[in-house]
Amino acid sequence: MNASHLTRRDFTAGIGGIVLAFSLTPAALTQQAPRLPGSLQTNRMLSAWLAINADGTATVFTGKVELGQGILTALAQIAAEELDLPLSRVRIISGDTGRTPNEGQTAGSQSVENSGTALRLAGAEVRAILLDLAAKKFGVGADTLKVADGVITAADGRKVGYGDLAKEADLKREATGKVAPKPTAQHRIVGQSIPRVDLAAKVTGGAAFVQDLRLPGMVHGRVARPPQYGAQLESFDEAKVRAMPGVVALVRDGSFLAVAAEREEQAIKAVEALSASAKWKAGPALPDPARLYEQLKALPTQDTTISNKEAPLLASGAKVVEATYHRPYQAHAALGPSCAVAQLRDGQLTVWSHTQGVFPLRATMARALGMKPPSIRCIHMEGAGCYGHNGADDVALDAALIARATNGRPVRVQWMRAEEFMWEPYGPAMTMQAKGAVADGRIVDWNYDVWSQSHNMRPGDPDGINLLSSWYLADAKTPGPARQAGPPNYAGDRNAIPTYDLPRQRITHHLIKDNPLRTSALRTLGGYANVFAVESFMDELAAAAGVDPVAFRLAHVKDPREKAVIEAVAKAANWKPGEKGDGVRGRGIGYSRYKTVAAYNAVIVEVEVDRTSGRIKIPRAWTSVDAGLIISPDGLINQIEGGLIQSASWTLHEAVRFDRSGITSRDWASYPIMTMPDVPKVETVLLNRPNDRPLGAGEASQGPTVAAIANAFAAATGRRLRELPFDPARVKAALA
């Protein structure tokens, strides 16, 4: 159903640089065109989104891509619903610079909001066009026609199928955005838990991932990475490696060193030999991990006060609370290392990649390689879940750099495990400092500062080339500058502004301009750390005020939907106002509205603290979510529960290890994650809002979960953990 399910014939058909021309950005865009909803604003032609085929099927084009979140199923549901077609007759093409709209990155829980909204409106409009054509054919009014499963029926019983109208239906026109989508009461497909379109292949060994792509004549590439950031290649034993079995190409460009071989294990042996013989000039030292946060805070920053609400401060009687929280560098740690296949033939480069954005990747690869974007076609295929900007884009450039040396033979590169851990861009280390005051059970003052490296070092940057190997070429490229994002999504300051009703608040984002460790977007950006701090601090203030944490939050919310979500999780967990821990067990709550504009999510967890070993167990968790109109209830549960479990793993286990000379997290033993026996049981409550627009939810539960764990630990033990992760050493120190 999507690009990753193409047959080998389809793959090879794409190879000779066949670039299908689509008019995606008409001239109207530069005029005073009306604002269109969702991604229709930037991709305004109906034909960019939908095609009606002669066999009565529809083809949906989306610039968003499947990352394991089930988005293609959800988007197919939306299109099928508006077109009145059965889901089985809707085919999706996603993320292909030759065929689909440019929707930038698939990130930030925005796909249903942007691509989904575009498809909803385009689908409604295309259906109306088909109805008009049928009405003309039958000589009746369009409002007298009925549609079911792609067949239009007149009052007198005459019928015509979409396929019969396909030729006449002119979709090469700009969307008006004026045809109203179906009222939710009429939904038959949206709102249903539809089985994922991609799962059958994944449980039977079908070709499901870019890792599974095998092209005729394909060779295997591997890169000999420097031992640390910024090291420069001085020498290596070229003759020895060239003579190794199966080696077909050896690429050295500055400090970029790579090999291609006929067989995968030959490429691995060859790259091991390259690495063993290579001499490198050391790169700059990393920060001292023992003094990480103070060193980061001392770096140059760009400071922005993102919220400043003034009110007279109570003169006396207020209790002042101060706290500082820390979050370490954390890895995406995809289960499958990053992989890409590239082929360069007749000046045309085709790259199959699990990137989050085929268009930004193409633009940046073009600059790194000195090519023109039209000479490159990037086609998305699924990889292992990435949870943000990992090595996906970097390995695509690696494959392309090697493909320049293989005489037209396709090159498959998959990073090794250590390479993935050492070179992916991490979620940044962050410090959050809060100072607040309570009086009479209410917050009267709130000051909050957050320090963070950039969360935005993706390809697509106008001022730099954010692709790893480009920095090591003889003609070395440089990454873009650290960037702010601003509202509504924010970055390091995502969710730094609480949604609570506070009379006085001042919130400042300190963007650290340097990059001592490589960082970029990890699921929620700063949201995870900020909700950890904000919601921990809410409990600290509640304790100072002597108020139950749930009641304290309810006293400060202003939006009835927030109130409903918090009440729903408290009810599900059977929360007892004023409930206390017993030294070992305790429960805590965390709440946020993701990005302050997307889904509402609350989490309660129960922890059990082993005071001897310092291990925290989370036997159970409860969560409630309001994501507006729910497209797929089971898909939403899967995202919320998955995010909760992933956040629990980040919270209890995860920190990138390093010393002054380099990254020391290189495998699953030096970067442990949560395993099956420790995973909490989760109960999820969905609050459907059929008359409200869908809200992004894929990243909603990460923040509330970490806060709930921190608050549960405090409830259980009377001690508070303010530095992540909550590993046995920190737990024992807190209890000492």
Binding site: S193, E265, L335, G336, N638, W668
Partner: protein
């Protein structure tokens, strides 16, 4: 050199050195996609296959050690047309997000159910403790294995 392997009931020949990890012979020579490269270190379980019924990390098992043992991969359990009860149960429970770990989860579960057809939930969790999932689909995976265990009894 030519190495003979017994995979999913058939004898196959691959042209590879004896120290080649089984994983690459399965994926690249026999074009079996299911077993995945995850770490190459026997840590994550994504490459799991059964060798004489024993769950085995194919990323760290050289062909020379496989010999004439029976190798069963996920493809050997069932097809989309005729799913194995475990495969059916994973679809029924929608047990997965990205799906990269699922090969290992199902193969480890197969080995578990072969030894213990009616495991408790805790036994399933312990049986899959060596298989990593990064998306947080663990509870669905456990439910799928328990569902398959029930179905098994009726087939």
């Amino acid at each position: 050199m030519a190495v003979s392997l017994k995979v999913n009931g058939a004898t196959r020949s691959v042209n590879a050195e004896p120290d080649t990890p089984l994983l690459y012979a399965l994926r690249n020579d026999l074009e079996l996609n299911a077993a995945k490269f995850g770490c190459g270190l026997s840590q994550c379980g994504a490459c799991t296959v059964l060798v004489d019924g024993v769950p085995t990390r194919s990323c760290a098992t050289p062909l020379s050690r496989v010999g004439q043992s029976e190798v069963i991969t996920l493809e050997g359990l069932g097809t989309t047309a005729k799913l194995h009860p475990l495969q059916q149960a994973f679809i029924d429970e929608q047990a997965g997000q990205c799906g990269y770990c699922l090969n290992g989860m199902i193969m480890a579960a197969k080995a578990l159910l072969d030894k213990n057809p009616r495991p408790t939930e805790a036994q399933v969790r312990d049986g899959l403790a060596g298989n990593l999932c990064r998306c947080g689909s663990h509870n669905r995976i456990v439910r799928a294995v328990l569902r398959a265990a029930q179905t098994n009894g009726r087939i």
